[in-house]
């Protein structure tokens, strides 16, 4: 996350649907609302979005259906050509790429997982997973071996000769994940990968996904309409509405200080103590002397609840991962969050 050059960087990206959209876009001023654009006969799927995604970061794009999140991710992978702005991947403007270069980029750097899996129905699990390798012309033996590796990784060993229709939803999505990982991509796009699954399976797949991410450390753009899922997985969350990003921040900040009313509405029903970490509430000590044992900055308020109630100190010392003291947390403030009256 410390990389200065972002892996993906988009500047003022627009995507309008409608005839002659580029010409129209050039004619309008900034700040046109979704409604105004619609009255002109265009649908603004993505509206002036600027985002930077750092190496190894997991950015979750959150929004209700029709908010433009799926379109945005397709702009980042150029499955859709954008109407205005710029999308840079590793410093290269992807709108400048020729068809051949684009294919090359996808063959080497990008993987994508789809909501309804997007599996090829006439191919076995193994052939589906090996598909991207086959497309780039890897020889049969090599791609088989690599495909088996990823199939093992997602826990589908023994099912490699099955056809997609013979698998459950969760298993099918494991195939989708395996396929997107086969070429060892740097950038991993996941378009509502777990939305089509049952709640229990969804939870299991999220755990699985976190395990994979810990192991592989990819740069991830993850789309979801489920706020809980976003909070659970994200380094940063971008909340979209009517094609524009309302707020893009860490889960703690979004919960603690929502930027707009729309974002606030989302956070209303969220158990804040489960999201907010001690580190976020920590303030510099400024010479004030702290006593006793310290708490870990990456534990949530909920995890600390017992201690918050029983501890009698006004300010609790907070230490980071390496055990170094970074500041103090006001116990009353934390208690307010825990009790929901902040």
């Amino acid at each position: 996350m410390s990389d200065i050059n972002p892996v993906i960087s988009c500047k003022n990206v627009w995507k309008l649907f409608g005839g002659n959209a580029e010409k129209y876009l050039a004619s309008i001023q900034e700040g046109q609302s979704f409604e105004q654009i619609r009255q002109a006969g265009y649908i603004a799927a993505v509206r002036n979005v600027s985002l930077d995604i750092a190496r190894g970061e997991m950015l979750v794009i959150m929004g209700l259906s029709g908010s433009g999140k799926s379109t945005l991710v397709r702009c980042l992978s150029r499955l859709i050509d954008i109407t205005g702005g710029e999308v840079n991947v590793d410093g290269q403007n992807i709108m400048d790429l020729s068809e051949k270069e684009l294919i090359d980029l996808r063959r080497k750097k990008m993987g994508m997982v789809f909501q309804s899996f997007g599996l090829l129905p006439h191919r076995t699990v193994l052939e589906n997973v090996a598909f991207p390798l086959e497309m780039r012309g890897q020889d049969r033996h090599d791609r088989r071996e690599r495909a088996m590796e990823v199939i093992k990784l997602v826990g589908l060993e023994g099912r490699e000769e099955y056809f997609p229709r013979e698998l459950s939803g969760g298993q099918q999505q494991r195939v989708g994940i395996a396929r997107s990982l086969a070429i060892e991509p740097d950038i991993w796009f996941l378009d509502e990968p777990f939305s089509a699954l049952d709640p229990l399976i969804r939870r299991e797949m999220q755990d699985e996904f976190l395990r994979l991410q810990e192991m592989l450390g990819k740069t991830i753009v993850f789309i979801t309409h489920d706020f809980d899922e976003a909070l659970r997985l994200a380094d940063r969350i971008a909340i979209m509405k009517d094609g524009a990003v309302e707020q893009c921040d860490t889960p703690d900040k979004i919960v603690l200080s929502p930027a707009t009313e729309y974002v606030a509405k989302f956070t209303e029903d969220i158990e804040k103590s489960r999201v907010i970490h001690a580190g976020v509430l920590t303030k510099p000590i400024n010479g004030y002397k702290l006593e006793g044992s310290s708490i870990a900055s990456d534990s949530t308020i909920l995890q600390l609840s017992r201690q918050l109630i029983s501890d009698e100190r006004d300010v609790l010392p907070v230490a980071n991962k390496d055990g170094v003291l970074i500041g103090g947390m006001n116990r009353q403030e934390a208690l307010n969050i825990l009790l929901g009256d902040s």
Binding site: I103, F114, F117, H122, F131, E161, F163
Partner: protein, 656 residues
């Protein structure tokens, strides 16, 4: 939706769509009443105003044929086709041509067919496939059937590839699609005689011309199904293909075509069935085979043997249909890792073994190789006698004679005379009223254009006779088919088997339907109407059942809870919702009727079909084409009006 549109129309002018339609209709009736006072030009287009389309077209054809050298090209194509046809002919029935290794013994063909049937759908299919060939051989029609099959074996793959290519182009290039779609709908409504004559002129008489006509006839559904299937590939599968870094060719080869497999195979099924239907009809241009034999037997009223050939054709049709449909639904099976090559390909190996075994058997046992005339089990004469005694029975003759008398004197002749009496202008006004009512100005314009064109050809009276046969038989078919369909749909125990029967009956080549008609009513107008009637009842029944069964069950439950009786439910819920689907069946019935009425020409009708059949004797391509277009334009008019209505109704109901 319909209301909203008529209101829109109402805003545009002082009158609503319905009102304009009513005025047009009243005008039509009024002009008909005052016929004696009308100017001649309104009653019939005078001879000197008729445009000589046929001569113009003939000039164009001659120019293309001789001056542009198309004939050289087509003769070139036909020599390639002839070469292919000779190969299949040699293999299947031992025509003395290269590679000179045939004929394959019948028992080997039957055995391989059984293995294919088993592979596709288990024992029952094996029995059907093998059994059909055993029947064909035992009844002594092997050579005839193989003559027919040898043409299908060439025509079906050709139609498949050409249709697939055109389908891909239509899907890829919007402009090409816009050009080819109207051409396809004309091709689908052109009477088959119009396929035959150009084929004869450009591609010689006999199997080659028959094959070409068959290919052209079978292409349209393949094009439609291919482009439909490609359009239906899910967006995510396409995106997955792109994200895997596929090039355009890889997308088509590995993503689009395999994902459209089902639709493409449905297209294959239709190609095969249309090939069979057409190849039987190529008897009219002297193609030897089952069709030719059936034609000559029916001409000489040998009913017993006609009946046997009919069964053969029906069996072949059912077998080809079931096999290709089984292929549509057959999904690949997976084998566990490490399964040996032999285990994976056991059916293939079985097929090779039975093939070789039967060939060896045929070397030693003559009956297994071919069945001679004396050995066959044909009972043509006996069946002939049975049919004749049954038909000579007083009750049967009483009923058929009465029916014939009643239909001819009270329905057919008056109706035909009325249509012929009506002024051309009134008919066109009446049609325009329908068009306006259903689709507004644009539809009215289209139908007036179509019927106007027919009037200008000078074949108006013949066209009206064709129209009379079509309308009267479709009305009769509606009176029979729809009540039967409703009755069947209300009883789930009946609807399944009846749907199955309808499905099967629809696979029969149309020629078959003439056999019972001629048996019962001998050769006259009633036989024609009866043949069309049974042919057209099938789609009517089928779509009625399907339409009623497709009504969502919540709606029926809601009606039940509202305390509706069975009849109230039928009239207020099921029928209104089923009507758009039933209209599709009605449309298909009319299309079938137009097809059948032309075939019936050979039993002596006086309509366009008769004229068309006459053109086959000469090489008057212009006239042939003009007559064909008259039929196609009438059919397209009905097609346009009915489908337009059905689609609007569907939209209004918010279904499909």
């Amino acid at each position: 939706m319909a209301i909203a549109e008529s209101q829109l129309a109402g805003k545009a002018g002082p009158l609503t769509r319905t009102q304009i339609a009513q005025i047009l209709f009243i005008l039509a009736v009024f002009t008909a009443i005052i016929k004696p006072m009308l100017p001649n030009i309104f009653v019939r287009i005078p001879v000197d105003l008729i445009l000589p389309y046929d001569i113009w077209l003939q000039t164009v054809f001659d120019f293309i044929k001789d001056d542009l050298g198309l004939l050289t090209l087509t003769r070139g194509i036909s020599s390639v086709l002839e070469w292919l046809l000779d190969i299949t002919a040699n293999l299947l029935y031992g025509k003395r041509r290269w590679p000179n290794i045939g004929p394959v013994p019948w028992i080997a063909v039957a055995a391989v067919a059984a293995v294919i049937g088993y592979w596709l759908k288990g024992w029952k299919m094996a029995l059907l496939a093998g059994g059909t060939f055993v029947w064909v051989a035992l009844i002594g029609q092997w050579k005839l059937a193989m003559q027919t099959m040898s043409v299908i074996a060439v025509a079906a793959p050709m139609a498949f590839f050409i249709g697939l290519l055109l389908g891909i182009c239509a899907w890829k290039y919007k402009r090409f699609e816009r050009i080819i779609m109207p051409v396809l709908s004309i091709l689908q409504t052109l009477p088959f005689f119009t396929y035959l004559l150009p084929a004869v002129i450009f591609f010689k008489v006999g199997p080659t011309a028959g094959c070409i006509a068959t290919i052209v006839y079978a292409i349209p559904p393949m094009v439609l199904m291919t482009s439909l299937g490609l359009k239906k590939v899910s967006a995510e599968v396409i995106e997955a293909g792109h994200m895997s870094g596929s090039t355009r060719w890889q997308m088509l080869r590995y993503v689009y075509l395999p994902a459209a497999r089902t639709e493409i195979l449905v297209g294959v099924n239709q190609v095969i069935m249309l090939c069979l239907a057409m190849v039987v009809l190529t008897a009219f241009i002297g193609m030897p085979g089952l069709g030719a034999k059936l034609l000559s037997l029916m001409n000489s009223l040998k009913l017993g043997r006609s009946f046997e050939i009919g069964i053969t054709i029906v069996l072949i049709a059912v077998m080809l249909d079931r096999l290709s449909k089984a292929w549509v639904v057959k999904q690949p099976e997976h084998f566990e890792r490490g399964t040996s090559w032999f285990a994976r390909h056991k059916i293939l190996i079985l097929g090779i073994i039975v093939f070789v075994a039967s060939i060896i058997l045929a070397q030693f046992v003559q009956v297994a190789d071919h069945i001679t005339r004396k050995q066959d089990l044909s009972m043509g004469k006996d069946i002939d006698n049975v049919i004749r005694t049954v038909l000579a029975n007083d009750i049967v003759t009483g009923v058929t004679d009465w029916l014939r008398w009643f239909l001819i004197t009270w329905i057919l002749i008056p109706f035909r005379d009325a249509l012929l009496w009506l002024p051309t202008g009134s008919v066109i006004l009446g049609i325009a009223a329908f068009g306006y009512f259903v689709g507004g100005r644009k539809s009215a314009f289209i139908v007036v254009l179509f019927f106007g064109a027919i009037a200008m050809t000078g074949w108006w009276d013949r066209s009206m006779i064709t129209l009379y046969a079509v309308i009267s038989s479709v009305i009769l078919a509606t009176l029979i088919g729809i009540p039967l369909g409703i009755a069947a749909a209300r009883n789930p125990k009946w609807s399944e088997p009846i749907l199955l029967i309808c499905d099967t009956a629809q696979t029969f080549p149309s020629f078959i339907y003439l056999i019972p008609a001629i048996m019962l009513f001998s050769v006259n107008d009633v036989a024609v109407v009866f043949a069309i009637l049974i042919f057209a009842t099938v789609p009517l029944m089928r779509y009625t059942i399907e339409g009623i069964r497709a009504v969502p069950s919540e709606l029926l439950e809601a009606a039940d809870m509202a305390g509706a009786t069975r009849n109230q439910k039928l009239i207020n819920v099921q029928l209104p919702l089923a009507l758009p689907t039933m209209a599709v069946g009605f449309n298909q019935a009319i299309m079938f009727a137009f097809f059948m009425v032309i075939i019936a020409a050979f039993i002596g009708t006086q309509d366009l079909g008769q004229e068309l059949q006459k053109t086959l004797a000469g090489n008057n391509l212009g006239k042939n084409f003009v007559l064909g277009m008259c039929v196609a334009l009438m059919a397209l008019t009905f097609d346009h009006i009915i489908m337009r209505w059905s689609n609007e109704r569907r939209k209004a109901l918010g279904v499909g």
